[in-house]
C-alpha cells in the first residue's frame, strides 16, 4: 500500500465510523436524556446532561416493577432455552439413528412447520388453551416455547449428528452401554457447537418476545420484561425521563450478554440463517 492508498483507506474507515455513529444516534439520545429531567428533555433534547444522577433509573426500576419483570423473563427464557436444546438434541439423535417411518414423517412435519407464521397458530392456540383453563401460568408458556422451538432445534441437530461417525456409539453399545447413557456421555459432548448457535438464537427470540407472552400471561405478577415495558409506557406516557431510563434498563441485560458472546452471536446468526 502506498501513501495515497493508505490515506484513502483511512478515510473510508473514518467514514464508516461516522456512519455507525449516525446509525447508533437513537441509542445515544436515549441514554443522554435518561439522565435529565423531563423538563430539560423537552427544552433541549440534544444537549449533554449537566449532571449524572440515577433518579430516573430508580423511579423506573420501582414503577415498572423491573425486578419482577426481569426475574420472570430470566426464568422463562432460561428454562425454555435449556429444555428446547436438550429435547431437540435427543429427538435429532432419534431421527438420525433410527430410520423408522414415523420418524421421517415427523421430521418432515417439523421442517414444513418452520414456514408457518405464528399468526396462523395464535388464535386457535389461545382458544384451545383458554378453554382448558391453562392460560396464565409460566408452565404453559414454557411448554409453548418448547413446541415452537423444537422444529428448528431438531433440524439443526439433525444436520450435525448426521456427520458424527456411528462407530463411536457402536463401541459403547458393545460394552453394554444403554442408548440413553451413550447419548449423554458420547454424543451430547460432541454437539457443543450447535448448542451455542441455538442458545444464542433462542435467547434473543424468547427474551425479546412480546406477542406470545401478552396472549398467555394475563396477571400483572407474571409479566416478562417486554410486557412490563409496555405497561410502563402506556401508563406513564408523558413523563419521558423515567421512560427512557426504563428503556435503557431493559436493553442492558441483553447488551451484557452480547458483549461476552458477540462472536458466537454473529456466528450463530450466520449459521442459523444459512441452514
Amino acid at each position: 500500500m502506498n501513501g495515497n492508498q493508505r490515506i484513502l483507506s483511512g478515510l473510508k474507515t473514518g467514514l464508516l465510523y461516522l456512519l455507525l455513529f449516525a446509525f447508533l444516534t437513537p441509542f445515544l439520545l436515549i441514554i443522554m436524556n435518561s439522565f435529565k429531567t423531563t423538563q430539560q428533555f423537552f427544552e433541549s433534547p440534544l444537549s449533554l446532561p449537566t449532571t449524572i444522577d440515577f433518579k430516573n433509573y430508580a423511579s423506573a426500576f420501582e414503577n415498572m416493577d423491573f425486578m419482577q419483570g426481569f426475574m420472570n423473563s430470566l426464568i422463562i427464557t432460561g428454562i425454555s432455552v435449556f429444555v428446547i436444546i436438550i429435547f431437540s438434541a435427543m429427538t435429532g439423535y432419534l431421527f438420525v439413528r433410527y430410520k423408522w417411518k414415523v420418524n421421517s414423517i415427523l421430521f418432515f412435519l417439523m421442517l414444513a412447520s418452520m414456514a408457518l407464521p405464528f399468526q396462523v397458530l395464535m388464535i386457535p392456540m389461545v382458544m384451545l388453551y383458554g378453554n382448558m383453563g391453562l392460560l396464565n401460568t409460566k408452565l404453559t408458556l414454557l411448554f409453548m416455547y418448547l413446541g415452537f422451538g423444537v422444529p428448528f432445534g431438531v433440524f439443526t441437530f439433525h444436520g450435525f449428528i448426521k456427520g458424527i461417525p456411528y462407530e463411536l456409539e457402536e463401541s459403547a453399545f458393545i460394552e453394554g452401554s444403554s442408548t440413553l447413557r451413550t447419548f449423554f456421555s458420547i454424543v451430547l459432548p460432541l454437539l457443543r457447537p450447535v448448542f451455542v448457535t441455538l442458545l444464542v438464537l433462542d435467547v434473543l427470540w424468547i427474551w425479546n418476545d412480546y406477542l406470545l407472552p401478552s396472549l398467555v400471561l394475563l396477571s400483572p405478577n407474571q409479566k416478562t420484561l417486554p410486557l412490563s415495558t409496555y405497561t410502563f409506557f402506556s401508563s406513564y406516557s408523558v413523563d419521558y425521563a423515567p421512560l427512557m431510563a426504563g428503556l435503557i434498563m431493559t436493553i442492558i441485560p441483553v447488551l451484557v450478554i452480547y458483549l461476552f458472546l458477540q462472536k458466537q452471536i454473529i456466528k450463530g446468526i450466520t449459521e442459523g440463517a444459512l441452514k
Binding site: T91, Y98, P117, Q119, T179, L204, L274
Partner: protein, 293 residues
C-alpha cells in the same frame, strides 16, 4: 442402523422423542388443524356456539374494505422495508468484508439494534419521532419535522419503515458478509487484473455469486416485516385513526378485542397465503440468476 420399531424400542422412541414431539403436536399441529376448521365456523367466544358456515368467513375477509386496505398498507410497508433494509445491508456488508481495521467493531455496532425487542425498539423511535424530531423542526424551521411524524398517516408509514429497517439492516448485513466471504478471492483478483472497475466487479461478479445470500435475506426480511406486530404496537398503536394498522396488528385486534375468532383466523390464513406466494416467487425468480463460480 435399521432396527424395526417394535415394542422393545418404543421406550427409546418415547424417551428421546416424547417431550418434543408431544409439545410440537400440542402447540403446532393441533392448533393448525383447529385453526383451519375455525375459519369455516362462526364460533362465538361468549356463548360458545359454533356451527359450520362454509366459506362465509373468507367472503367476509374479502368484502372487508378495512382489512383489504390494511393488507395493501402492509404490502407497501413490506416492499419499502425489504428494499431499504437490503440495499443498506448489502453496501454496509460490502464495505465491511475487506479486512480493514476495526471491521469487527463496526460489525458489532451495526448489529446492536437486533438485541432489542420490538416493543423497546418501537418506544425508542416513538420518543424520537414524537419529541426529538419536532424539537429540531421547530428550532431550525424545518417543515418536515415540525409536527410529530406519528400523527399523520403518510409520515407514520415512513416512521414504521425506518424503525423496522433500522433493526433489520444489521441482521441482514451479517448474512451478506457470510455470502461475500464465499466469493473466491482469485476471481476478484483476476477481474482487477483484467481492469474491471469497482462497479463492474459488483455488478458482474459479486452480485451473481451472492444470489443465495440475497435470496435468504429477502426471504428473512419479507417474513419478518409481514409479521411485524410489536413495533407497530409501540410506535403508532395503529393510529392515527387505525390508519397504520399492519395486517398482524389488525388480526390481533379482530380476534382478541372484537372476539371475531373465525374471521380473524381466516385473515391470518389469507395473510399466510400472501406471504407464501410472494416468498416462493421471489426465491424462484432469483434462483434462476444463480451462477457457479
Amino acid at each position: 442402523m435399521n432396527k424395526k420399531l417394535s415394542l422393545k424400542n418404543t421406550g427409546t422412541f418415547l424417551v428421546f422423542g416424547g417431550p418434543s414431539i408431544f409439545a410440537f403436536t400440542a402447540v403446532v399441529i393441533i392448533p393448525f388443524i383447529v385453526g383451519l376448521y375455525l375459519t369455516f365456523t362462526n364460533w362465538d367466544v361468549r356463548t360458545g356456539d359454533s356451527s359450520l358456515i362454509g366459506f362465509g368467513n373468507y367472503l367476509e375477509v374479502f368484502r372487508d374494505k378495512v382489512f383489504l386496505s390494511q393488507l395493501w398498507f402492509t404490502l407497501k410497508y413490506v416492499f419499502f422495508t425489504v428494499v431499504i433494509a437490503n440495499v443498506f445491508a448489502f453496501f454496509i456488508a460490502l464495505a465491511l468484508t475487506r479486512g480493514g481495521k476495526g471491521e469487527q467493531w463496526l460489525r458489532t455496532g451495526f448489529f446492536t439494534p437486533n438485541l432489542v425487542g420490538g416493543i423497546v425498539l418501537g418506544y425508542l423511535w416513538q420518543t424520537l419521532f414524537s419529541q426529538v424530531l419536532p424539537y429540531l423542526g421547530n428550532k431550525y424551521g424545518w417543515d418536515l419535522f415540525q409536527t410529530s411524524w406519528l400523527t399523520d398517516t403518510g409520515t407514520a408509514f415512513w416512521a414504521l419503515i425506518i424503525a423496522t429497517a433500522w433493526q433489520l439492516v444489521g441482521y441482514l448485513m451479517i448474512i451478506y458478509i457470510a455470502g461475500f466471504t464465499g466469493v473466491p478471492g482469485d476471481v476478484l483478483e483476476a477481474a482487477s487484473i483484467d481492469g474491471a472497475g469497482r462497479y463492474a466487479v459488483i455488478r458482474r461478479i459479486i452480485l451473481p455469486l451472492t444470489v443465495p445470500a440475497i435470496v435468504i435475506c429477502i426471504f428473512i426480511s419479507l417474513s419478518r416485516s409481514f409479521l411485524t406486530y410489536d413495533i407497530n404496537l409501540a410506535l403508532t398503536k395503529g393510529g392515527p385513526f387505525n390508519s397504520t394498522e399492519l395486517a398482524t396488528y389488525h388480526i390481533v385486534q379482530k380476534a382478541f378485542l372484537s372476539n371475531q375468532y373465525g374471521v380473524g383466523q381466516a385473515e391470518a390464513v389469507v395473510l399466510f397465503a400472501v406471504v407464501a406466494i410472494i416468498a416462493l416467487t421471489q426465491s424462484y425468480l432469483l434462483k434462476k440468476l444463480e451462477v457457479e463460480s
